[in-house]
């Protein structure tokens, strides 16, 4: 997008108001506000939300931080719930019960628990049916709302409360599920993996595409959690930057089946740079951790190569 101007974008009215109860240094709210800024002024939206930190912190009766209509239903059904809302919109439009010139957009947010795991079926169904909506996963890599339990998005070796590091344990045994690729294999019109770095252009452009592409779209947003990842709250931007520069969290999009890398680091940084900043990987930097870091690096390299291959076809 040639006309991107950070100052201009940041001066748009906030659609998630201040006063919510999310933590300082939380990546989720930064990501969500960035997504919402991509809504064109004048367009209305209905926001969906899976149960999670975001929901319990932003809509605590009788207060809501959401400027748009908002619906929280349950943990595992944000996809289905918003598909009902979107279908209602089409039904009411068709039957003349909504003014012709009223445009609503449908965006739902879920953490990796509600998206990769318990809400996976509901998400898959909504994507396959092709509802005109955007599902946004704020991926903080564990069930943070209930106290940092592992999810299928948790990276290997992370110390979580259900994969605690101990005498017999190096943290999580398994590697991450690649949800962005899985949703891309649904052959929906638009899938992107993003996070907020530098001038927020990547997340902004992708959000706008996701919202304004007709049909189902999926955004996977890396959203660090200071409690679960154990970093200084002021370091959130740096963490995201390192996730991208180490190719732990590559930035790409899949538009109508075409895979495209949207950013390629000039010099891929070693994964230690990303891991070192986080308390959940502290044990990897103790004697004997070298092999684990090597394994982590090998997994990152393999996935990066796979992605380059997909993007080169």
């Amino acid at each position: 997008m040639a006309g991107y101007n950070l100052k201009e974008v940041m001066s748009k009215p906030e659609r998630l108001a201040a006063g919510h109860r999310m933590c300082a240094g939380c990546g989720a709210t930064i990501g969500i506000r960035a997504v919402l800024r991509a809504l064109h002024e004048g367009d209305r939206a209905v926001i969906g939300n899976a149960t999670g930190c975001l929901e319990v912190s932003s809509f605590m009766y009788p207060y809501t931080a959401w400027e748009d209509s908002y619906i929280h239903n349950a943990f595992e059904n944000a996809g289905a719930t918003l598909s009902g809302v979107e279908t209602a919109y089409r039904a009411l439009k068709k039957r003349g019960r909504l003014p012709e010139d009223e445009n609503f957009k449908f965006i739902t947010f879920g953490g990796d628990g509600g998206t990769y795991d318990i809400g996976f079926q509901s998400l898959s169904g909504a994507m396959e049916r092709g509802h005109d909506m955007v599902y946004v996963c704020y991926d903080n890599g564990a069930y943070m709302n209930t106290g940092i339990q592992r999810s299928s998005a948790t990276p290997q070796f992370a110390d979580t409360t259900t994969t605690p590091v101990g005498k017999e344990s190096h943290g999580k045994v398994q590697t991450r599920k690649d949800l962005s690729a899985i949703i891309a294999e649904h052959h929906v019109p638009y899938v992107a993996q993003t996070t907020f770095t530098k001038d927020f252009k990547d997340i902004h452009v992708k959000s706008e595409k996701a919202i304004y592409t007709e049909g189902a779209a999926f955004l996977n947003v890396l959203a660090p959690c200071p409690r679960g990842w154990r970093y200084e709250t002021s370091e959130v931007m740096k963490i995201c930057h390192l996730a991208v520069e180490t190719c732990y969290w590559p930035l790409f999009e899949v538009e109508h089946g075409n895979w495209r890398l949207t950013y390629e680091p000039k010099r891929k940084l070693p994964i230690e740079d990303f891991l070192r900043e986080q308390g959940r990987f502290k044990h990897l930097f103790k004697p004997g951790g070298e092999e684990l870091i090597e394994a982590f690096q090998a997994e990152v390299d393999k996935r990066w190569e796979d992605l380059l291959y997909r993007c080169s076809r």
Partner: protein
């Protein structure tokens, strides 16, 4: 002009859905309610209705999508049975607590296990405390009539609660019977248009649905929900009366069949009421004053009205097509006995469990129950509480 036709319960329900033409219907197939979404899809494919049908990937999603659609301002409904209802359990509570006037047409089927596709009431009885109004049908006609009344009850501003319209799997859903159906225009007029006060798609008036509420607020939400359930009784009666005046059929909370002077009453729900009535007729010919109280509305539970209707009879058989696994009777038995006690109706009652997982309930079985009540009453011998009827015997059958 109303007209006569022959239809199964599923056909009658699908026909009523076509006439109401709701805005949105998500559904997922499950025996024996599968035909309903199939028939609706066919009506839509043939341009006979234009409801937005969502072919969801599960029942959990059908109720989730219905919740979303209804909250968005669309008149919405779904259909299911058995494990489908169990799977959408969590969402039943969400729908009711959000005060969404959804309609669910439930074709009753037993819950697993063993897996079995036939009728009993364990599915809806299991959901009896989810905050839904529950209305049961004896036959195809009532399945049709109850469905048409469901939206006016649910959407009444005194109520704002979801309604579950129940009919017996296969016995009602698949058996073809004579039925009177009404004109499309009459049904549409009876049901009326849906204009919710607050909804997600209300331009310029955003709302937030489904809050996190701390203990300071949650209890009032539950209390208000219960108040609506209490108020719904008068609305159910009003709608039933309006329906009766317009179409000449129906009754309120329950039907009293030959109970005025009855010594022995069978209290029963669903299709087996027809069997019970036949047994009462036969026994009356032989001189026994037998009657049947057929419960139509289980939620809200008409406790006082039932106690009044049973007061004066010598004994009542409370018939549960559902096991409660509580060691002392099915859910209907617990509710009716509490109603009798609390309203000071000194009536001998015996709890029976019948017809589980499609086990036949015959006129002879029903007669046997009436005879047991009479024999015990005459001999003064106390009957064993909580009895199963229709079980296989050790020697076979």
């Amino acid at each position: 002009m109303s007209k006569k036709d022959r239809m199964s319960g599923n056909e009658a329900t699908a026909y009523a859905i076509r006439q109401v033409n709701p805005d949105v219907m998500p559904a997922f197939p499950i025996t024996p309610s599968t035909e309903i979404p199939q028939m609706v899809s066919t009506y839509i494919a043939n341009g006979e209705m234009d409801t937005e049908f969502i072919p969801v990937e599960s029942e959990h999603s059908s109720m989730s999508a219905a919740v979303g659609a209804e909250a968005a301002g669309a008149r919405s409904m779904t259909a299911t049975s058995s494990c489908g209802l169990a799977f959408m359990w969590e969402e039943l509570l969400v729908a009711a607590s959000n005060r969404l006037p959804l309609v669910l047409t439930l074709v009753n089927r037993t819950l697993s296990g063993p897996i079995n596709i036939n009728c009993d009431h364990s599915d809806s009885m299991g959901a009896r405390d989810t905050g839904w109004i529950q209305i049961y049908a004896e036959n195809n006609q009532e399945a049709y009539d109850n469905f048409i009344q469901a939206f006016p009850i649910a959407e009444d501003t005194r109520v704002h609660l979801p309604v579950m319209v129940c009919q017996d799997g296969f016995i009602t859903s698949h058996a073809v019977e004579n039925i009177t159906i009404e004109e499309d225009a009459d049904v549409k007029d009876f049901v009326g248009e849906y204009h919710p006060e607050e909804f997600l798609l209300n331009p310029g008036k955003p709302v937030a649905v489904g809050p996190y509420a701390v203990s300071n607020y949650s209890m009032e939400a539950k209390y208000n929900q219960e108040q609506a359930m209490i108020r719904s009784k008068e609305v159910i009666l009003e709608v039933a009366e309006k329906f009766r005046k317009r179409f000449g059929r129906g009754f309120g909370l329950f039907e009293q069949y030959r109970t005025e002077d009855a010594d022995f009453i069978m209290l029963i729900m669903g299709s087996a009421a027809g069997t019970a009535k036949e047994a009462a007729d036969r026994l009356r010919e032989r001189g026994m004053k037998a009657g049947v109280l057929k419960l139509r509305v289980f939620r809200p539970f008409p406790a006082e009205e039932i106690a009044d209707a049973l007061r004066g009879c010598r004994a009542v058989a409370i018939m549960d097509r559902c096991e409660s696994f509580n060691g002392h009777g099915g859910p209907l038995s617990s509710e009716v006995n509490a109603a009798l006690y609390l309203n000071g109706a000194d009536v001998v009652s015996v709890s029976y469990v019948y017809g589980l997982a499609g086990r036949d309930f015959t006129v002879e079985t029903a007669e046997g129950i009436f005879n047991e009540l009479r024999d015990a009453s005459e001999s003064g011998k106390k009957l064993t509480q909580y009895r199963y009827v229709g079980l296989r015997t050790r020697k076979g059958q």
